[in-house]
């Protein structure tokens, strides 16, 4: 029977009851921010909050999907009902995307695993805006853990650290030297490092550089933020070597933050971040509408003065900021 025409609450009940097609449809509605999305989010928010949310991030080609696949395989053997959200980039030109991570996971995953591919749909930062809402749905539907695989990231795409309970950063040999490891950004936010392709030359150098970086966090006192030193695990994801060790380290991290109260803190922050991001997106839309000349007087005049060099952009922005709420 078709899901079309069913009310969101009915689809939600079916998804909670284990109907995967219903869950797939709910995710689409949330991802599109359809008119039903708010009702779905209300239903899910009450039920969610149990799943361990794990972020897997790292540069393109570092083996995130393959590692995720190996972990998911292991979770199947442990009898856990895991979900994977695999995020890939949307084309900035056409909005299209090729989502190719599923293929590395499906064959090894247990039939209980739910895998969903998502495109970033214009959002920078390594995830899509809809990710927290989709994680909430998977959580509400009883999947635990929920693994999020980000797009291949560089140095500053740190969305994942605000979204996950445990952030795993995957590194590989040949990515640069100790200076790269010491720069600010993504590496600071790792709860756990995986050095993948450990069978290749240079893997131990990567481990040493990461260790050195972590030593310096200790010297500067930065590690007081989390109170624990991230572990470094060596893996060869292609053969599955190191996957059990990775999973054990993820569990140790979860136990530790559950113990010291950080887990609750992170989850609270995550919800508040989402409120903030929603507000920002709303304001951004208002700004775009205002600059496109919709329904607020005096805007085009201010913009004209900027292009004629009689008003500085920063001054114009301060003047226009007062009009944002009018639209």
């Amino acid at each position: 029977m078709s899901l079309r025409g069913l009310p969101p609450s009915e689809i939600f009940e079916r998804a909670i009851g284990g109907e995967r097609r219903a869950l797939g449809r709910l995710i689409t509605l949330v991802e599109r921010d359809a008119s039903e999305a708010e009702e779905i989010a209300e239903l899910a928010h009450v039920k969610a909050g149990n799943a361990h949310v794990i972020g897997i991030t790292g540069p393109p080609g570092s083996g995130k999907s393959t590692l995720t696949g190996q972990i998911v395989k292991l979770l199947g053997e442990l009898g856990k009902r895991a979900a994977v959200l695999a995020v890939d980039p949307s084309s900035p030109l056409t909005g299209g995307a090729i989502l190719g991570d599923r293929v590395r996971m499906e064959d090894v995953a247990s039939p209980e695993t739910f895998i969903r591919s998502m495109a970033t749909r214009g959002h920078q930062g390594g995830l899509s805006l809809a990710v927290p809402g989709v994680v909430r749905l998977l959580d509400a539907a009883g999947y635990d853990p929920v693994l999020i695989e980000t797009v291949g990231v560089g140095q500053v795409e740190v969305d994942i650290a605000g979204t996950a309970d445990t952030t795993v950063v995957v590194a590989t040999p040949g990515m640069g030297d100790a200076v790269q490891a010491n720069k600010a950004g993504l590496l600071e936010l790792a709860d756990l490092f995986v050095v993948n392709k450990a069978d290749r030359p240079g893997a131990n150098d990567v481990r040493r550089d990461l260790d050195l970086m972590l030593d310096l966090s200790h010297v500067s006192g930065q590690d007081q933020r989390t109170g624990m030193r991230p572990e470094i695990i060596m893996t060869t994801a292609l053969s599955g070597e190191g996957a059990p060790e990775t999973w054990s380290a993820i569990e140790r991290h979860r136990d530790a933050i559950a113990e010291n109260g950080q887990l609750d803190q992170r989850r609270a922050n995550r919800d508040l971040d989402e409120v903030r991001n929603r507000l920002l997106a709303d304001v951004e839309r208002r700004i775009d509408r205002m600059l496109a000349g919709e329904s607020v007087g005096g805007v085009s005049d201010v913009l004209d003065r900027v292009t004629r060099r009689s008003l500085a952009p920063a001054t114009a922005a301060r003047e226009l900021a007062l009009k944002v709420s009018e639209i």
Binding site: R32, E106, R121, G122
Partner: protein, 138 residues
């Protein structure tokens, strides 16, 4: 542009090759064509089973399935794929691309294949065929 994507209703298309057909040049080109037409392609690639495709359509809430067939298996595998999706209660069009002799087209269409794209189909034709097949079911 980016702003339009948020909340946009991109079509989501699962692309796969069933069984032991290893010719994947064509499916890669189609994936690229659909991406450039603004669609989200869930790329399964080679050696897929009916079950894999059904799983993907369910979990990805796909709007259409594209099968690439180059080893004369279309008369057997394509109708079975149509049946497997119907059995799972999934109403999505199945579009076959590849080498399909003209005389095979009517029987395939009769068995529920939504459209067939042969060699020489233009990028525009590929994208339009997918859009039309999806629209026809809605």
């Amino acid at each position: 542009m980016a702003e339009e994507q948020i909340g946009g209703q991109q079509l989501r298309v699962v692309l796969a090759k069933l069984g032991f057909d290893g010719h994947d040049r064509g499916i890669k080109i189609v994936a690229r064509i659909l991406r450039d037409a603004g669609m989200e392609v869930i790329y399964l690639g080679l050696r897929q089973s009916y079950k894999n495709v059904v799983n993907a359509v369910e979990q990805e809430d796909a709007d259409a399935v594209g099968l690439s067939m180059h080893n004369a298996s279309h008369m057997t595998l394509a109708p079975k794929m149509v049946d497997a999706l119907a059995e799972a209660g999934l109403e999505v069009p199945v579009i076959v691309g590849g080498i399909v002799p003209d005389e095979d087209i009517p029987p395939l269409m009769e068995k529920g294949v939504a459209a067939i794209l042969g060699p020489g189909a233009s990028a525009e034709e590929v994208a339009t065929t997918v859009r039309d097949a999806v629209a026809a079911l809605q």
